[in-house]
């Protein structure tokens, strides 16, 4: 966990290449491959008659029809609201719990086996138990998302805090910062890069659980949309759901990177300097 990386998105914009041609080339490098893949998909599927692989053009038209014209976007809204609340709750518990476990050694020793059990336990296996505890409805879906997002954040918070240089703690004592100021000025920012890595892993888990939580006992959401399409053999419809989910996943990911890059500017810039 300790060397968990976050993303391949370039950390600093490369300001090389004075000639305009070169700059255009630089700007095009990250986009040509996705565009090429989409083009390949478009042309290869164009003549497809297989019910499982409809032409991309049809899928796109259907996506518009289903999600905009027929108003399936309300599914996305419901799912995203659950994700948002569950994710916030889970990561908050993760950071606070990780901090407590960092501070209280015996709590850490005691809680370790339980936490690892829940961390590696495939969340869908918990669905029946979640229904038993939280009943049917949004609360259960939020609870499942929250429960799943706790662990990556918690473990990374703990790891990040344990990884802070002892010299920095000595410095805090030498400067007489006191407990709370040490926590807010040293411990939290010091562990921030790794907490961010944990938050991102939690987001991935959260999106998966958003879908999983809708597999049982739900009546709206992207997961329901996809599974219902599957049950109806409406494969084109299913493709639209996958497309929307892929879009949401990617968008949330890039949004996260965007926020993280700003919040942890010191970290990325110092690393970029250090490596050059």
């Amino acid at each position: 966990m300790s060397r968990m990386t976050t993303s391949l998105v370039p950390t600093v914009r490369v300001r090389r290449g004075s000639s305009p041609l070169r700059r255009v080339g630089q700007a095009l490098t990250p986009v040509w491959l996705p565009l090429l893949l989409i083009a390949v998909w478009w042309f290869v599927s164009a003549e497809s008659v297989s019910p499982f692989f409809p032409p991309l053009s049809d899928i796109l038209v259907d996506t518009w029809d289903q999600w905009v014209v027929f108003g399936a976007w309300t599914n996305a809204v419901a799912s995203l609201r659950n994700l948002f609340i569950g994710y916030l709750l889970g990561t908050l518990i993760g950071v606070v719990g990780g901090s407590l476990m960092w501070r209280l050694k015996y709590l850490r020793m005691a809680a370790n086996p339980i936490i690892y059990f829940l961390y590696v336990l495939p969340a869908p296996a918990l669905l029946p138990a979640m229904i038993a505890i939280f009943g049917i409805g949004d609360v259960r879906q939020i609870a499942l998302i929250a429960l799943g997002s706790i662990w990556p954040t918690l473990l990374n918070t703990l790891d990040g805090m344990r990884g802070i240089d002892t010299v920095k703690f000595d410095t805090a004592r030498a400067l007489r910062l006191g407990g709370w100021r040490t926590y807010t000025r040293l411990v939290l920012p010091g562990a921030a890069p790794q907490i961010a890595a944990g938050l991102r892993a939690s987001l991935t888990v959260g999106i998966v659980l958003m879908v999983v939580s809708e597999m049982v006992a739900a009546n709206s959401g992207i997961g329901v949309f996809i599974l219902q399409a599957q049950a109806e053999f409406a494969i084109k419809k299913m493709w639209t759901g996958i497309l929307v989910l892929a879009f949401i996943g990617t968008a949330l990911n890039y949004l996260f990177v965007f926020v993280e890059r700003r919040a942890l500017r010191w970290y990325y810039r110092s690393r970029a300097l250090g490596s050059s």
């Binding site: 491959l33 020793m109 296996a125 879908v211 892929a246």
Partner: protein
């Protein structure tokens, strides 16, 4: 003497907590706080677990889940090493591929699960495909990072000493990137196991997940069995993760992080 008492605590404390949690479960369910139609008692679950183990029904399920996991992991690791190394050595290829990797990584494997089930059915290949899809992207990123973050001095040293070719790859490049590789494998392993079980639960492929599903479909009488299999899934997860931690400890004994861990264990952690 202080450290002796501490090491004593390090192994008793977890056992005590596990026991406490199990007892609390028993108390809550047997004491009638939670209806047995919603949650079985701990003792019933343990009896069911014992029965599944005694009759041997649990092993084919574990075997089927593990089969998907192993095949998926092998493919993931081989492909990841190959493609990751190739990408890491070429800045252009890497910059081109980065968005594609990011997008695929962001697609929850669960989203394509229904489609894969429709296309491949509830079979082992379906499970393996999903496992690879879930584990490959994060592992690939780790490989790229590992190869890329290699200290230039490490490579310069090899050149200065006249170490070349396969010897350099095996004795210098791989060990140098190994911290990232091992971490990547551990993350991939957890993802792979989760996807295996999900594929079984949703798609009904043979394995622990399907046994959970079948027990769930059977109704209240089978709840203890269902929770027994949930326990099995968790224990398998701990076993696999633990195995990777051990591997890391053995293979990476020379690495700073492992040395720090040893150090902090010795002194008793800050």
């Amino acid at each position: 003497m202080l450290s002796a008492s501490r090491s004593w605590l390090t192994w008793t404390l977890p056992i005590v907590t596990v026991a406490a949690v199990l007892l609390a479960w028993q108390a809550v369910t047997a004491g009638g706080w939670v209806s047995p139609s919603q949650f079985p008692t701990m003792s019933d679950t343990m009896v069911a677990l014992g029965r599944e183990v005694a009759t041997g029904r649990v092993w084919p399920a574990v075997g089927a889940t593990l089969a998907g996991w192993v095949i998926g992991m092998v493919i993931t690791i081989l492909l990841g090493l190959l493609i990751g190394t190739a990408l890491a050595f070429n800045a252009f290829a890497q910059r081109s591929a980065a968005p594609v990797i990011e997008i695929f990584k962001a697609i929850p494997a669960i989203a394509i699960l229904p489609l894969v089930i429709l296309i491949a059915g509830s079979t082992l290949p379906m499970k393996v495909f999903l496992v690879c899809f879930a584990a490959f992207w994060p592992f690939l990123i780790q490989v790229i990072y590992g190869v890329r973050s290699m200290d230039p001095i490490v490579l310069d040293t090899a050149r200065a000493l006249g170490v070349r070719g396969a010897r350099r790859f095996l004795m210098v490049s791989v060990p140098s990137a190994s911290p990232y590789l091992v971490t990547g494998m551990r993350i991939a392993s957890a993802q792979a196991l989760i996807l295996c079980v999900v594929a079984e639960i949703v798609g009904g492929a043979a394995g622990i997940g399907r046994n959970i599903l079948l027990a769930q479909n059977t109704g209240v009488v089978a709840y203890p069995t269902m929770y027994a299999y949930i326990l099995v899934a968790g224990i398998l997860g701990i076993a696999l993760t633990g195995a990777f931690f051990l591997l890391e400890k053995r293979v990476m004994h020379w690495h700073e992080s492992q040395r720090n861990i040893r150090e902090s264990n010795k002194v008793g952690a800050a």
